[in-house]
């Protein structure tokens, strides 16, 4: 049913990706002296959510102007931000709902497409039960849309299976922070970075994945801060590191445990802080006791002296910050990795103060806000637990339903795809998610999609995943619907509507509410504007951990953002958490967690002797649905390349530009080599933004972290061999 309706080549001809190079009015438009309207809003690409002014004319976004007054980025933008405006007025843009035909897609009316979608979802649920359909959401959606998706799944569709692509992003960090500190949020505002004396970036390719954060780090260095970078690759920020730790993929935990071992062994802990504000230190100390630097060196490939030095720099400072991103989090022990970072911060008292703290660098556009209000499988608005009776009663009250009507926790993102593959889930409605490119083990994902009895997608371009759909509802770009997001600092900011959706495309929230009406639940979805959704969200989050009750659109505009929690209208917001050592657990104390070593889920052996790690390049965003359609960004990185160290390359007689087949236990792809000294000799790197025969996720594996259910993208086993030429495009 959900096999491709025609060949990839035909689909590509019609739906792209085509490259948009030029602004809508062309580059030279001097004759037209009418001024552009400037709309102060934010970039849609990545969790930094840089302030930007979009130039608008005749309901088209024609360019940009830096927004220097916005305090977080002060006008700075990466190339994605500079060129983001070219996603509008795009030849690939879906202007009508699409219905699958025998040999492709045809444009349909909204009534036809929505009626069909509602009917198929209801039929499947009647035949197989309410949980036979699942919902996928996304962390690039505004917080209003994210909230709406959670409510839609549980109230309109009454399924327990809703999860989102943030599951592939930083959930292990969120799980760790929640367990240790009681809240899922970076504890410090970014200005704190400049006050640090020691900065450690572990698994965080800041220069390429959070570019404007680089300036915060450089400013700290200018003031004398030491920079430690732990990464299998010599990333752009590693070039200025005072200490570079070339950690082997999958072994961060051993490195961190050895650092904590040294901190405890050499008496660098803050005993007073530990006694006054934490519990469980002894069990953590016990678990790192066997991890002396010599033992860790064998596991991590980092010299014992370097481990000692890193531990001493952090342990001897009371202004140390440990920054981490996907490199630490994408592991089957991702939660433990992050708990180890938090444990180092707690043990040295480096938390809750200016220049001191563990901070996660959230990656997706609304990576923070999109995970707070109910599109996670186990969560209700306000970062509340779906299994907490009081939380269920509160949210059910706001929604006007009985708590008993609320389904329980469902599957996580990868588990939903597993259940589709197993035939347990028959129908899927997806928005803002391109699992065929972004989930691990892409061949498995394709098989699963082909088994769906109904697949509906809301999207603005026909993504590789949407090409498998029965119906595609033409939705809206970020700049086509008002709302809020929370940036990497948990600063809630205002996304302005700059233009209306083109053609017959509609705002995402309208589509969802219309679908709810057709499912007979319209009374719970009376919204006509995002503001009304936000007003309800404020109430639903009230009293929760991520409390938005005191935030309004106007307050955001007046203050250039408001940091949650913000429980009352006269509350100024909370830029820094844990001041005075007060944590979010009922007893106010932070928890040390027991740390235990585990091997990764896809170990290297004689057949697959090389480590594979994956990540981003600076000019592309996530699965590339948007950025693979912007000419200037594609030119910067036209194709994924395999980064190989000269030592490994020589063994296989591979030079830069040669074709290389990379094979894992799941599949093989052939790409061109880039021979560089900036990667460990036992490791290769492939960026993951591309589909089909260029998809790094054909190689990755589906092993999940047992608690957070994040996939282990950052370490797989592979082998490489020189190839005669390029492999198949699809």
């Amino acid at each position: 049913m959900a096999k491709l309706p025609s060949t990839q080549e035909e689909l590509s001809r019609r739906f792209g990706p085509h490259l948009n190079y030029n602004p809508p009015a062309g580059w030279q438009r001097d004759a037209d002296k009418r001024g552009d309207q400037l709309v102060k809003t934010h970039c849609c690409f990545c969790g930094q959510q840089c302030g930007i002014q979009l130039k608008v004319r005749d309901n088209r976004v024609t360019g940009f102007e830096p927004w220097e007054e916005f305090p977080f980025n002060r006008g700075m933008l990466c190339p994605k931000g500079v060129k983001r405006y070219l996603q509008g007025n795009h030849p690939d843009r879906l202007m009508d709902p699409l219905m699958r035909t025998a040999d492709g897609f045809r444009a349909a009316t909204w009534d036809e497409a929505l009626d069909f979608t509602a009917r198929r979802l209801r039929e499947l649920q009647e035949q197989y039960g309410p949980d036979s359909v699942a919902v996928y959401g996304g962390a690039s959606l505004t917080t209003e849309k994210s909230y709406l998706m959670g409510k839609f799944a549980r109230v309109a569709l009454k399924t327990r299976h809703i999860d989102y692509n943030g599951r592939l992003c930083m959930v292990s960090a969120g799980t760790a922070y929640k367990a240790a500190l009681g809240v899922d949020r970076a504890p410090n505002p970014w200005n704190d970075i400049m006050q640090a004396e020691v900065l450690m970036a572990i698994g965080a390719n800041v220069g390429e994945c959070a570019p404007i954060t680089t300036d915060y780090i450089w400013r700290a260095r200018d003031k004398g801060a030491k920079l430690i970078v732990a990464d299998p690759r010599f990333t752009p920020i590693a070039r200025n590191a005072d200490l570079y730790l070339p950690v082997r993929p999958g072994t961060d935990l051993a490195l961190l445990m050895a650092m904590l071992h040294v901190i405890i062994r050499d008496g660098l802990t803050d005993r007073e802080f530990i006694d006054a504000h934490t519990t469980g230190f002894e069990k953590t100390a016990e678990s790192v006791e066997p991890w002396n630097p010599r033992r860790a060196a064998d596991v991590t490939g980092v010299a014992p002296e370097a481990i000692e030095k890193a531990a001493h720099w952090i342990g001897e400072s009371r202004k140390a910050m440990l920054m981490h991103a996907r490199g630490l989090e994408h592991h089957s022990k991702g939660v433990e990795n992050c708990e180890a970072v938090v444990a180092i911060a707690l043990a040295t008292g480096n938390i809750g103060r200016e220049g001191a703290g563990p901070i996660m660098i959230t990656g997706q556009g609304n990576g923070q806000g999109g995970r707070e209000h109910g599109q996670k499988c186990d969560q209700l608005p306000g970062q509340r637990s779906l299994t907490d009776p009081a939380a269920r009663a509160h949210v059910a009250g706001v929604w006007g339903i009985s708590p008993d009507e609320l389904p329980g926790p469902g599957y996580t993102a990868v588990e939903i795809m597993n259940a589709i593959h197993a035939g347990e889930i028959k129908g899927l409605l997806s928005i803002c998610f391109n699992p065929l490119v972004s989930l691990p083990d892409a061949n498995f994902t394709r098989e699963a999609l082909e088994k769906l009895e109904f697949f509906g997608v809301i999207d603005f371009f026909l993504s590789e995943t949407a090409a498998h759909a029965d119906v595609v509802l033409a939705g809206s770009l970020q700049e086509e619907e008002e709302g809020v997001t929370a940036n990497v600092e948990a600063r809630v900011i205002h996304i302005k509507k700059a233009v209306d959706p083109p053609g017959n495309a509609r705002r995402d929230s309208e589509i969802i509410c219309d679908l709810a009406r057709r499912l007979g639940r319209g009374q719970y979805f009376p919204f006509t504007e995002p503001r009304e959704i936000f007003e309800e969200l404020r109430l639903a989050s009230r009293g929760g951990i991520a409390d938005y009750y005191g935030i309004t659109y106007e307050k955001i505009d007046q203050n250039m953002g408001v940091f949650w929690p913000c429980p009352t209208l006269d509350h100024p917001g909370t830029p820094r958490l844990f001041e005075g050592g007060r944590f979010f657990h009922p007893d106010g104390r932070a928890r040390f967690m027991r740390l235990a070593w585990r091997d990764s889920g896809d170990p290297v052996d004689a057949g697959f002797p090389v480590y594979l790690t994956t990540g981003r390049v600076v000019s592309q965003y996530l699965s590339g649905v948007q950025t693979r359609r912007i000419g200037a960004l594609v030119d910067q990185n036209p194709e994924p390349k395999v980064e190989i160290h000269p030592r490994l390359a020589e063994q296989h007689k591979i030079n830069t530009g040669d074709w290389v087949t990379v094979t894992s236990r799941r599949g093989a792809i052939t790409l061109q080599a880039m021979v560089v000294r900036t990667i460990r000799p036992d490791t290769v790197f492939i960026p993951y933004h591309w589909p089909g025969g260029r998809s790094a996720n054909r190689l990755t594996h589906r092993t999940l972290d047992p608690r957070s259910k994040i996939p282990e993208y950052k370490v797989s086993a592979c082998r490489i061999e020189k190839a005669a030429g390029p492999g198949g495009r699809w």
């Binding site: 030029n22 602004p23 580059w27 030279q28 360019g63 940009f64 830096p66 220097e68 006008g75 700075m76 933008l77 990466c78 190339p79 931000g81 500079v82 060129k83 220069g207 390429e208 570019p211 404007i212 680089t214 300036d215 450089w218 400013r219 260095r221 200018d222 004398g224 010599f234 990333t235 752009p236 920020i237 590693a238 070039r239 200025n240 600076v618 000019s619 200037a632 910067q636 000269p646 830069t656 880039m674 021979v675 560089v676 000294r677 900036t678």
Partner: protein
């Protein structure tokens, strides 16, 4: 705001090419980027460098132009070639010691960074220095640079025996007074030689 100068610090550059992309969005030359960007040696290092024109006090490009098409303005900015005069001969491209000017074939004209004249003349920062995520390119007052950076601004360069002073500053290690790029510049060849002292 006046009194601001342009500073280039390749040690901060992360190679993102935001400057390159933003330059071509600038209103006076939309579609054409005037940024000079290099990977220094990608096999050996991730080092990258993004440059604007250095706006020399005595611009070599203007000196060698047979058509008198390159002008230095009162505020020290050396402009792009004047379209009616430029004959597209590439003398400037070959002569510039920094390798800045580029011949744009579709216009048969040399084009280069003019320090965003349209923006800086009305008190804005140049586009590249505004967006640069690492502030490798920055446009601030000398006081701000002195107060916030550990590197030190240098605007005297030696190319063999040619001494060049520029409007744009290079950020150099704190003990560097002038920048020379040839080992021969550091060798001792007698008292009367025009040689900067080694730093």
């Amino acid at each position: 705001m006046f009194g601001r100068e342009f500073y280039v610090d390749p040690s901060r550059c992360i190679g993102c090419q935001s400057c390159l992309k933003a330059c071509e969005e600038c209103d006076t030359h939309r579609g054409i980027s005037m940024i000079n960007f290099d990977f220094v040696d990608r096999r050996e290092s991730i080092a990258t460098a993004a440059y604007v024109c250095w706006h020399c006090d005595e611009p070599t490009c203007a000196q060698v132009c047979p058509a008198d098409a390159i002008k230095k303005y009162d505020d020290g900015i050396v402009g792009s070639s004047l379209k009616p005069r430029c004959i597209g001969c590439s003398n400037c491209v070959l002569a510039c010691p920094f390798g800045i000017p580029k011949l744009v074939p579709e216009y048969e004209q040399m084009m280069k960074c003019d320090m965003c004249y349209d923006r800086t003349s009305v008190g804005k920062k140049p586009m590249c220095a505004t967006v640069c995520p690492s502030q490798a390119l920055t446009y601030v007052t000398p006081e701000t640079i002195a107060a916030t950076r550990r590197e030190k601004p240098v605007n005297t360069f030696w190319f063999g025996n040619q001494k060049i002073t520029t409007k744009v500053y290079m950020m150099a290690p704190a003990d560097a007074g002038e920048i020379a790029i040839d080992v021969a510049d550091y060798t001792w060849e007698g008292e009367n030689e025009l040689v900067p002292q080694a730093f």
